[in-house]
């Protein structure tokens, strides 16, 4: 017993680990539906190389119960990317399961160009939760229009939680030309102490810059 010597160590050649199922597209789709979660996870990971796998991957998320498999599906969708992935993920923002919603948000945050055409629509969604999720997406989205989208929330939004989320993000990305909107917002909600505090923090950050 002790430390094994290199001559006895054995990183197996790839062939040793070849699975019984084939790794072509049809085989991977089968794996994605396997009863064994580890096979489903590997199927999901390998499908990242197949842009045509967007629909099967999205479909699997809705029924998948194993967290590691879901993570692999979201990672593969992010790797595939493109408008079809974005269009497929947006409906998941309404999913009952927080893990599914968060997974969708994380992938959307990583796809600024493809998400951009949908932001205005999301910020105007009838569901205030979806509007907050849209702001969550903006928190990490590397898109130059982000400050303007957030500013539009200050102007049009009425739901206090949505406004608070936007103000919070503006503390980081706001610019001096947004100060008048922030100050006007303070006057609109004189009795909301949390919002008053958040707005003042944003103003201080921006003014101090």
């Amino acid at each position: 017993m002790g430390l094994k010597k290199e001559r006895n160590l054995d990183i197996q050649p790839v062939a040793t680990y070849e699975r019984q199922s084939t790794r072509d597209y049809a085989g991977l789709l089968q794996q994605l539906e396997s009863s064994d979660p580890s096979k489903r996870r590997w199927g999901a990971r390998d499908l990242a190389n197949y842009p045509q796998a967007v629909d099967p991957l999205l479909g699997r998320i809705l029924v998948e119960t194993e967290h590691p498999v879901r993570e692999a599906i979201f990672d593969s969708l992010q790797q595939i990317g493109g408008p079809a992935v974005v269009s497929g993920l947006i409906p998941l923002l309404r999913n009952e399961d927080a893990a599914v919603r968060n997974g969708a948000i994380e992938v959307l945050q990583a796809m600024p160009e493809d998400v951009a055409p949908h932001i205005v629509e999301l910020l105007n969604d009838s569901d205030s939760d979806v509007r907050i999720f849209a702001i969550d997406i903006l928190q990490q989205l590397a898109h130059p229009q982000t400050p303007q989208w957030l500013l539009s929330v200050l102007k049009d939004e009425t739901h206090i939680n949505v406004i608070a989320a936007a103000v919070d993000r503006l503390a980081e990305v706001g610019t001096t030309d947004m100060l008048s909107e922030l100050k006007a917002l303070k006057l609109r909600f004189p009795d909301e102490s949390y919002l008053q505090f958040a707005i003042q923090t944003a103003i201080d950050r921006i003014e101090g810059a």
Binding site: L3, E6, R45, A48, E71, A72, A110, R205
Partner: protein, 287 residues
């Protein structure tokens, strides 16, 4: 005029508010938190990046940084804000945690005849895998009862060749107790030291690219992974892919050590946090 922009950037100071905005953003992206005491260090590097990228104000630079889709400038900043120096027993409290807590737990789940597998990545110049080996030999008595296999990998074939040679500078071994130095190293001319053949034979060095699924697929059944101060240099997507690789390379209940400024919770929700007396470690949930 470019010169004028450079001069302005050189003269400019980072205000308190600008520092806070940068600090919050950098923390959210990397998990690295700069205290006020690091202010001079951070300001200096920020101003330097502003100068190099031709921005004459923090606002202009921060906007470019924050909304650059490629994340290239953020990566540059991470590179200059983090100092990556490697030496034997670096962040020693993690090796202590390994031998005092983690390995005992792994051992308790092993059946007779099974072995423990440890993966150290990146190898860099080899100080980490050799430190692990020395720590096991010196401070983990159960090594007499079970085989331990240590694999260490790097994307760079040149550093792997250096690992095989096992020759280190005085600076690299400066934190080793003299007894350990005398026991496992041979002094060479020019103040260098070579690690003993027995230890060199105890590590399997392999070349691997963490972003290549075909290459990483064969790394399986590890009980412990050390991946310190590597993920910080990856972009978000690559970090997530690396977390996937580690997850699939580990046995259930396996542990992963990251660098002190790195957080798996920011990368992936696949692992849970385990707090041991000496260190915080991430664990693949037990099935």
């Amino acid at each position: 005029m470019a010169t004028s922009a450079r001069q302005q950037a050189a003269q400019k100071k980072i205000t308190d508010s600008e520092f806070q905005r940068f600090r919050d953003y950098f923390y959210r992206k990397t998990g690295i938190q700069f205290e006020e005491s690091k202010r001079y260090f951070v300001d200096k590097r920020l101003l330097e990046r502003m100068r190099i990228t031709g921005h004459d104000s923090f606002n202009s630079y921060f906007t470019a940084l924050r909304f650059q889709a490629s994340g290239e400038e953020l990566q540059e900043l991470i590179n200059v804000m983090t100092v990556n120096e490697t030496y034997f027993f670096r962040e020693e409290y993690q090796f202590e945690c390994l031998v005092e807590s983690v390995l005992d737990e792994v051992y308790s789940r092993k059946k007779p005849g099974e072995e423990i597998k440890i993966w150290s990545i990146p190898s860099s110049s080899g100080e980490e895998p050799y430190s692990i080996a020395i720590y096991l030999l010196e401070k983990w008595p159960k090594l007499d009862e079970i085989d331990v296999e240590i694999v260490s990998s790097d994307i760079d074939s040149k550093v792997l060749a250096r690992c095989h040679q096992g020759v280190y500078s005085k600076r690299s071994v400066q934190h080793l107790p003299s007894r350990i130095l005398a026991k496992y190293f041979t002094p060479l001319p020019n103040n260098n030291y070579q690690i003993c053949q027995d230890l060199r034979d105890s590590i399997k060095f392999t070349q691997v690219n963490l972003n290549d699924v075909a290459q990483t697929r064969r790394y399986r059944n590890f009980d412990v992974i050390f991946c310190r101060n590597l993920l910080i240099y990856f972009d978000d997507a690559s970090r997530r892919r690396a977390a996937d690789v580690f997850y699939d390379a580990m046995n259930s209940g396996g542990f992963i050590f990251l660098g002190h400024s790195e957080s798996m919770s920011r990368i992936s929700s696949l692992f849970k946090v385990r707090k041991f007396p000496k260190a915080m470690v991430y664990q693949k949930p037990l099935v």
